[in-house]
Amino acid sequence: MNNVCEEQVFSSIFKANSKTVFNYIYYKFGNEEKAHDAVQEAFVKLWENCAKVMPEKAKSYLYTVANNLYLNVIKAEKVRLKYAKPTLDISNESPEFLLEEKEYQQKLDNALSSLPENQRTTFLLNRIDGKKYAEIAEMEGVSVKAIEKRMHLALKALREKIDGI
């Protein structure tokens, strides 16, 4: 049961990783359609090479393939991120507060769009997907320290953008 070619193993890898692969590509390029395609392409590649890829290596294989597939294609395209607006748990807030929140989110969206791709991906993988720095480092194929650096720079840049410094 440790062969990626087995349909059950493949399906479980898909269920465990497809969402993150989708997000990963989406954070990088801000294109939902391309992110969907990336998931399909990456998993087709994995299936075609199922005999060569060990199950434990499947995850990093997927990220590498997904990244390679769309890195060159979308590099030049302008990034436009649109996140589903966070639904506020407390709805009995004052209109002023809600407006303020809305403005803040607008600023955050803009700030995120203007971040370098690798900082944005690191930041969002951590904030949205709750990935630890070590996990992101593995996905990106860099050291944990490099991820910490990206995170630090991302936080710094976002605050400066939002606070208008």
């Binding site: 070619c5 399906s11 898909f14 269920k15 497809s18 969402k19 989708f22 997000n23 989406y26 954070y27 939902e32 992110a35 969907h36 998931v39 399909q40 998993f43 087709v44 299936w47 075609e48 649109k82 996140y83 589903a84 966070p86 639904t87 929140e101 803040y104 989110q105 955050l108 930041f123 969002l124 951590n126 904030r127 949205i128 997907d129 630890k132 720095y133 320290k145 991820i147 910490e148 650096k149 995170m151 630090h152 936080l155 710094k156 976002l158 605050r159 939002i162 606070d163």
Partner: protein
């Protein structure tokens, strides 16, 4: 404050002291707000099950067939190569001529597809095409052989020096370097030599030495003598007699002060070397010495 402290703060890795220091800073509130709001961000909807179904139906649905076919394709490739090789070698082997070769001091009998018989003398080779035998009865000969040809279509013996064509008879062909002899024992043999055709009726021979046709006396046997383990010569230069001696006994013959053009008439045994040496040396007035596989003939001292 340590390197990348913002990242460390977000992952809760700051020490208490560092955290307290960071909290006092002016930007802390902004970062706190950023952490709160970004924690509520969401990525676009992604339906895992739907994506998996789509993947299986649209993309992978066909893939297993391809994968399953691969080893078969490989097998087919190998099978095709083997089939081609087998067919090729079959045709090649079929077109190859059958051939029989005898070494020195060796004789061989060959029965052809039409029951014609060939007796090969020592140091000779024949080849013929078994496949085309019904269309063309043709044997290529180097050396000496006795033929008993079954009646039928034209039977030809090709040699470097001449071609012999017959219908059904018994004859002997000797085709050695510089020496060409055909003897007919039964029926009629047609010999073409240097473009001239000679008809040999039963009991006659045709001899050519160094391209010159020689007179020859008719054989007085019904088979060549070598078939009965004797080599007979009728006014043949001594050099060819000694060559035959070498072939029959697989020895090396050397001469000293001997005229090899001297004509020899006589017979020697193909089985008894001492008898054969005597048979040759006495009428030619020679002496001989045997050293292993070497025989030296030398002229008898004239008294």
């Amino acid at each position: 404050m340590q390197e990348n402290y913002l990242a460390k703060w977000l992952s809760g890795e700051l020490s208490e002291q560092e955290l307290a220091e960071f909290k006092k800073s002016a930007e802390y509130a902004s970062y706190q707000k950023l952490r709160e709001v970004s924690g509520n961000l969401k990525a676009p909807e992604f339906d895992v099950d739907q994506a998996l179904t789509q993947l299986k139906e649209e993309r992978i649905g066909n893939a297993p067939k391809v994968i399953a076919l691969n080893p078969f394709k490989k097998f087919l490739r190998v099978a095709a190569v083997i089939a081609v090789l087998l067919a090729g070698s079959y045709f090649y082997v079929n077109t190859l001529d059958e051939s029989v070769t005898t070494q020195f001091a060796e004789r061989s009998e060959v029965v052809l597809p039409d029951n014609s018989e060939i007796v090969l003398n020592a140091g000779s080779r024949i080849s013929y095409s078994e496949k085309n035998w019904n269309q063309e009865r043709n044997v290529t000969l180097t050396g000496e052989a006795f033929f008993k040809v079954a009646k039928g279509k034209k039977f030809t013996v090709s040699t470097e020096q001449g071609t012999i064509a017959v219908l059904g008879t018994q004859f002997n062909v000797e085709n050695r370097e510089g020496f060409f002899e055909v003897t007919c024992f039964e029926g009629l043999v047609s010999v073409s030599f240097n473009g001239n055709e000679t008809k040999l009726p039963a009991g006659t021979s045709f001899v050519a030495i160094d391209g010159k046709v020689m007179d020859s006396s008719p054989p007085n046997t019904t088979q060549p003598t070598w078939v009965n383990n004797e080599s007979s010569f009728e006014r043949i230069p001594l050099g060819y007699v000694l060559d035959e001696l070498e072939r029959q006994f697989n020895i090396e013959v050397n001469t000293e002060n001997v005229d090899k053009n001297l004509l020899f008439t006589g017979t020697f045994s193909n089985t008894d070397l001492k008898m054969a040496l005597k048979s040759i040396s006495t009428p030619s007035r020679m002496n001989y010495k045997i050293e292993g596989d070497n025989v030296l003939f030398y002229a008898e001292k004239t008294p």
